[in-house]
Amino acid sequence: MTIWDLKKRTKAEITNLTSTLPTNLSMRLAEMGFIEGQIVHCMKRTPFSGPLVIQLQDCVYSIEKDLAQQVHVSPIQ
């Protein structure tokens, strides 16, 4: 599953990024905190598949479907 599948107010742990992502983009995501083992917290979903709002460590990001589907996670309780 990816962070796009997260429901509001749930958490998950990042497992990996889609491997076919361009290197500069996956590096940038890593620099923004999308690293294996980090906890993602889904803060908000917007209607009509609009961007998702997540909290990742010290930042809150708004992230679009296309990109959110590249970040794979495993659910935690």
Binding site: M27, L29, G50, V53, Q57, S62, I63, E64
Partner: protein, 604 residues
């Protein structure tokens, strides 16, 4: 002059720090076609250069590549003596990633490097205390705890900067060189050891977002804020615009009274003060707009607005950040095109800039008002709630927006798949913060200066040309001028719109700026002061047998056509390419012509 370089991640308080260190005398260097801006100012005997905020030395867009290459060049340059890495102390880990990358580059080039741990006032409010000495040791560079807002630690910091800039070897980096991967890891380790607990920092922000991003309250708040923005550019700016107009008028009178009557006086009065002056009137509006957008940006709301608008606008190939340029375009296309700079994706930015001129800007208002007064009866329906003239106004505004969305969609499809591999939408929602007046004030002043510098030359040339054509050979009588001859010559071109040569002349002159349409028609119909006496002119035109079909055709023409050389000049400056600016000019000209002749043919 030796240079000091300032870097940091976005929203880390870097602009405020820059402003506090330098003051009013700033220069902004722009790179054509991209949004990269390098600000520089004097700090003591050094030149302080503010680089655009970014998350890393790895670029993911053309803009970032240019910014990063400039930064790398500056770090190599022998003129650079010191590098300041600005850190947001409330977000230590994210700010450290980029700062560590820059630090190791500084080390490679043997430059001094210091860290400014900014936002200390906020940290103190959370009751947290930083181990600055420990962090400094772990980083291998001096660290200063400061607040650019409350000025805590600022005097020590600027003292230290002076001495480090004088003897950079004192600030030479004293730590092992790190590669990319470890910058992320080191940042995580240091943040864990020295940083503050994150949940605490984000709690307040999340609570506010809970309301402002809520589907109901959030939407209401959004509508209210945008209404406020829209109002401000019309109501607040108008006394200022009147003031500028008055000043220019007074100046014109003062100057022309010293010149003997005749062609020189007419030139100074009409071409210089009339042509160039008419465009200066827009400066206050641009500045008010910049101020409000700056306020929204610095407070952190702009990122939320982008989030709210992203989905609907992305259907048309636009970004959530295209909303502000579109809204601003209803005042004036020039600041709106400049506001498109905040759009992250170059492709969406280009589409936004190319379609902004379709918004019904305030210069179209007098034209709409005149034509509506001519052929729309002043009647009301539904017990006075719906006025027909008002409804037509609304349709015109809406028509502009609709055309813009259709053109955007077409551009999006037309630009093709090759470019689709574009920046994905990921946006940090920054902390809500109370903006500081200093950066806002400078930004506002700069926007006015920038507008004048960019548009004045072309406006000047066009005003002179139009004046000469309208003045000679009949010495001031428009009816007998070259312009009128040209109008009669090209009358067949405007025949499909059902209008005669007088409108042709008015349309031609409108390419200088649309609002002169009214004045020129007034002159051709022998009405003095047509701008004030709109009704008089309207009844003249009515008496002249102006048909409904021509009225609709002309209105459609003015909705679509890009008749503003200042906008073309701005597009040229912002996109860096004639292809886009003049391309849009021709495209909308043809589109306007096609739509209005079809409308005329159908209606008559």
């Amino acid at each position: 002059m030796q240079k000091i370089v300032l870097v940091g991640k976005p929203n880390s308080g870097k602009s405020l720090l820059f402003n506090q260190l330098t003051g009013l005398r700033q220069k902004v260097a722009n790179f054509p076609g991209v949004t990269v801006e390098l600000k520089s100012g004097r700090f003591d005997e050094y030149e302080l250069i503010d680089f655009p905020g970014t998350y890393s030395l790895q670029s993911i867009s053309e803009d970032e590549l240019i910014a990063i290459n400039q930064l790398k060049k500056a770090l190599e340059s022998p003129d650079t003596c010191l590098i300041i890495c600005n850190l947001d102390a409330t977000k230590l880990e994210r700010s450290l990633v980029f700062a560590l990358q820059v630090q190791s580059l500084a080390q490679t080039h043997n430059k001094g490097c210091v860290f400014a741990l900014n936002m200390m006032d906020e940290v103190a409010r959370f009751g947290f205390e930083y181990d600055t000495a420990g962090l400094s040791k772990a980083l291998g560079s001096p660290v200063f705890a400061i607040s650019a807002k409350t000025l805590i630690g600022m005097s020590e910091f600027s003292q230290a900067l002076k001495s480090y800039a004088g003897t950079p070897s004192l600030a030479r980096v004293n730590s092992p060189n790190r590669d990319h991967d470890s910058a992320v890891k080191v940042a995580a380790r240091l943040a864990k050891q020295f940083g503050m607990q994150q949940d605490l920092v984000l709690r307040k922000q999340n609570r506010v977002d809970h309301v402002l991003l809520n589907s109901v309250f959030g939407a209401l708040a959004f509508a209210a804020i945008m209404f406020f923005l829209f109002q401000s550019i019309f109501t607040w700016a108008s006394p200022l615009m009147d003031g500028v107009e008055f000043l220019i008028g007074a100046l014109a009178q003062g100057v022309t009274s010293t010149i003997p009557a005749g062609v020189y006086e007419d030139f100074v009065n009409d071409a210089l003060f009339g042509g160039v002056g008419a465009f200066l009137v827009f400066v206050p509006q641009i500045m008010v707009l910049t101020l409000i957008i700056g306020l929204l940006e610095d407070s952190g709301y702009l990122a939320r607005a982008a989030l709210i608008c992203h989905k609907p606008l992305s259907l048309f190939g636009l970004s959530g950040r295209s909303f502000i340029p579109y809204l601003s375009g209803h005042a004036c296309a020039i600041p709106a095109i400049m506001a498109a700079r905040t759009i992250e994706s170059p492709r969406k930015r280009l589409i936004t800039m190319m379609t902004v001129p379709l918004m019904s800007c305030s210069a179209r208002l007098p034209v709409y008002a005149l034509l509506i007064a001519v052929f729309v009866p002043d009647v009301a329906y539904l017990g006075g709630w719906v006025n027909l003239q008002g409804a037509i106004f609304f349709i015109l505004y809406f028509g502009g927006i609709l055309t813009a969305l259709i053109v955007s969609k077409m551009l999006d499809v037309y630009v093709g798949d090759s470019d689709k591999n574009d920046l994905p939408f990921i946006l940090e929602l920054p902390n809500y913060r109370l903006p500081h007046w200093r950066p806002l004030l400078y930004k506002t002043l700069n926007s006015g200066v920038y507008f004048i510098k960019r548009a004045a030359p072309i406006i000047f040339v066009v005003s002179v040309v139009v004046w000469v054509l309208g003045y000679f050979p009949a010495n001031g009588d428009l009816q007998g001028s070259y312009l009128a001859m040209i109008g009669q010559l090209i009358e067949p071109i405007f025949a499909p719109l059902g209008v005669d040569w007088r409108y042709g002349v008015a349309i031609l002159v409108s390419f200088l700026a649309r609002e002169v349409f009214v004045g020129v028609l007034g002159t051709l119909y022998n009405i003095e002061n047509a701008d004030e006496n709109l009704i008089g002119l309207a009844s003249q035109i009515q008496a002249d047998g102006f048909t409904l079909a021509s009225g609709v055709a002309l209105l459609a023409f003015y909705v679509i056509a890009l008749q503003c050389v200042a906008t073309v000049a701005t597009l040229k400056g912002e996109t860096g390419k004639n292809r886009y600016s003049w391309g849009v000019f021709v495209l909308y000209g043809l589109l306007a012509y096609a739509v209005s002749s079809i409308l005329y043919a159908v209606l008559s």
